[in-house]
């Protein structure tokens, strides 16, 4: 049985889409990106994170955002994800440090 890594990919079709998944080909390596079906395709569930911000992927996903705004949208989304990560890290640090016990009465 041939794996997707050995599957030949036409140059003009580097991305193949299915219901809720995409198979990508970057250089010599192939990989699968699992995302929600349209219109929420940009919601990445599994796969390389750069597939969210690659312009070719955005086009393949059929986003309605104008091309000129995609760079700014990707940057703002990345910053928001950073903010979410740090705020969750804050909660985790409070939980781990368990500062409540160290607060003397």
């Amino acid at each position: 049985m041939r794996s997707i890594h050995n599957r030949p990919w036409p140059a003009e079709h580097k991305w193949a889409m299915g219901p809720g998944y995409m198979v990508g080909h970057l250089g010599e390596r192939s990989f699968i990106t699992v995302a929600l079906p349209p219109p929420y395709s940009p919601v990445l569930l599994f796969g390389p994170p750069w597939s969210l911000i690659r312009p070719s992927v955005c086009v393949a996903m059929g986003t309605q955002l104008p091309v000129d705004a995609r760079g700014a949208a990707a940057a703002i989304l990345a910053f928001s994800i950073l903010c979410l990560t740090t705020s969750l890290l804050l909660i985790w640090l409070v939980w781990v440090q368990n500062e409540r016990r160290s607060c003397k009465t």
Partner: protein, 173 residues
Amino acid sequence: MNSLERPCGGNGKLTSPDVALLGAILSLSVLASILQQIHTIARWNDIKTAQWQNVVENVGNPELNITGASTGLDLVLFYIQYYTYNVESMLILFWATELAHSVFQIRSSRASRMHASLIAKTVAILLPAVQQICLRQPIFQQSTIGYMVLADFISEFSLLEHSLTLLLEAHTA
């Protein structure tokens, strides 16, 4: 008295529950923002068309001033973020008040400080929710000035009061 030896709550020091609550509210705010961004990226044309139809159908509605003509899922996500902003501003306001309580060395029992802290957190969580419910009622949307006062009084009052409190504390210290 060393700051670490002070009792939790009511001493102007941000304790673990305060930080955890702020972090949780902040996480909810950012999560709603990310969902709205993804929704906007995916359905830009549909959203803009729906917003235009909403503006045409609701000309003069003061809700458009704060929601930016959002409808459907975007409106829900907007109100979640609006709620979290107001909760955060009230939490910071009550923290500044507790700090003033400590700076000016107002005497009170530990039990009363704990109760005051608990009541403050409850008010900070419930009052913005009541405000959101009122903002969605048509009767409150009949007056533009009244609606804007209702929409902004929590954040404006919190910003003004905790700024003045911190300035006063800085001047005193």
